[in-house]
């Protein structure tokens, strides 16, 4: 076992891990943060997407030891003092989830797109969000929700 430090949503977690433990397993079992989900465990579905040093990462394809000392962000860190943030609110309003299994991964991927601050046209948005699978919504409402937040922050893709 190795002792590592993960700075998750601005809280330091000191956890003991085996090298073979994935980052997402460690977040769920070591840190008690079960918001990030595990689907396929081979990089295909994106349910496990978290931000590592502000970059979207498949949490099932990174070992926790590789994230030692890094800043991790998960769905648990998105809210504004208990209230939905803009992206969560948009998912709610646009009915961008049904069972909710893919939602934490979708939200973290979308967080990266929004925070990047660049204009994103519909094609690019579709392509990036296609990184993650959803078995329920048919994707349209997920795209509408992210689009709404991008438009509100002036990243409407004009000139992109």
């Amino acid at each position: 076992m190795t002792r590592i430090q993960l700075n998750v949503n601005e809280t330091i977690h000191d956890v003991e891990v085996e090298p073979r433990h994935s980052l997402v397993d460690t977040l769920r079992e070591g840190c008690g943060l079960t918001g990030s989900h595990i689907g396929c465990e081979h990089g295909v579905c994106g349910a496990c997407t978290v931000l590592v040093d502000d970059q979207p990462v498949r949490g099932c394809l990174m070992f926790a030891v590789q994230a030692d000392g890094k800043d991790i962000r998960t769905v648990e860190g998105l809210d504004d003092d208990g209230a939905f943030n803009a992206l969560q609110q948009a998912f709610h309003e646009h009915h961008a989830l049904q069972c909710g299994f893919c939602t934490p991964g979708m939200l973290m991927l979308a967080t990266w797109i929004v925070e990047r601050g660049l204009p994103v046209d519909d094609n690019e948005l579709r392509e990036i969000m296609a990184s993650n699978l959803c078995r329920c919504t048919g994707y349209r409402n997920i795209l509408r929700a992210v689009r709404a937040v991008l438009d509100a922050s002036g990243q409407d893709g004009a000139g992109a």
Binding site: T2, E41, Q66
Partner: protein, 287 residues
């Protein structure tokens, strides 16, 4: 599934990585982006006793023009090729290829060297390396070795790299301004590995094709250059008719097609014809 237990070490330099491999023999594997190795470990198809993480090696991710070559550091992430900052036909081709690899979060982790070392039959970078006759620079504790692409790919997921060798750098020829390059691939879902893909590079002089390199990936165990297609193109003008003839020749010349649940040999042959044609058309329109 979860991977089997292993010992985790980090290497601060390629020398240290090579030393680790020498120490542990065939029980150790390099961990680069982890985007192929970790799935394989999660399926327990690989159970290395030791993983040597090379992600912290400084100055190992770069694209650098050096005379007639483009030198690519093994740890250069796929995403870097989407804006390679290189002039000329190769600079225009790299982003068009990179775009087809997996999904963006995977491209942000996965590395050029990892793709070549993994040697999936439908890896875009492997097909590019074979088409342009890249040189792989391998390093072990006993020294350095240059491996030509024609010798590098042995079969699906098997390369010429020895158990104690790391892949440190890859050299591609920096194609001059008279080259036109194109790419095409077919898959059923965005982000999947291609079933068949093709890289086409032709050099034009006064409206005539004076050199041609046609590569095909996904069709056979390893990416191949199509001598038949290249021969058909040489000396001709870049017309749709000639391209169709060359694409047909590429498809007809292949005998050892891969077959799997995605495509049988007939479908792969048809796809080779169409992908080579499209890659050639892409070369003249965007190349």
């Amino acid at each position: 599934m979860k991977p089997a237990s292993f010992e985790y070490v980090t290497a601060e330099s390629w020398d240290a990585a090579a030393a680790s491999l020498a120490e542990h023999g065939d029980d150790a594997l390099i961990l680069a982006g982890g985007q192929s190795l970790v799935p394989v470990m999660n399926f327990r198809l690989a159970q290395p006793a030791v993983l040597v993480d090379v992600n912290v090696i400084p100055d190992s991710a770069y694209l650098q023009i050096d005379g007639d070559s483009l030198r690519i550091g093994a740890l250069t992430r796929h995403v870097r090729f989407e804006a390679p900052g290189i002039d000329g036909p190769l600079g225009r081709l790299l982003p068009r290829i990179a775009h087809h690899i997996a999904h963006l979060p995977i491209r942000m982790r996965g590395t050029f060297g990892g793709s070549l070392a993994h040697a999936d039959p439908a890896s875009e970078w492997c097909t590019l390396a074979r088409t342009l006759d890249a040189v792989m620079i391998a390093q072990s504790v006993t020294g350095e070795r240059r491996i030509a692409a024609a010798d590098f790919f042995h079969s699906a997921l098997a390369t010429d790299l020895a158990d104690d060798e790391v892949l440190r750098e890859v050299e591609l020829p920096a194609l001059g301004p008279d080259w036109r390059c194109g790419f095409a691939e077919f898959n059923r879902r965005a982000g999947d590995f291609a079933i068949v893909q093709s890289v086409a590079a032709i050099e034009l002089h006064e409206g005539q094709i004076v050199s041609a390199r046609i590569g095909v990936g996904g069709a056979t165990e390893t990416p191949q250059r199509s001598g038949a297609a290249e021969k058909a193109l040489l000396g001709g003008a870049p017309t749709s008719e000639l391209f169709a003839e060359a694409a047909g020749a590429a498809a007809d010349a292949i005998e050892d097609f891969l077959t799997d649940q995605q495509a049988n040999a007939d479908l792969r042959r048809d796809l080779v014809r169409v992908m080579v044609l499209r890659a050639l058309e892409d070369a003249v329109s965007a190349g």
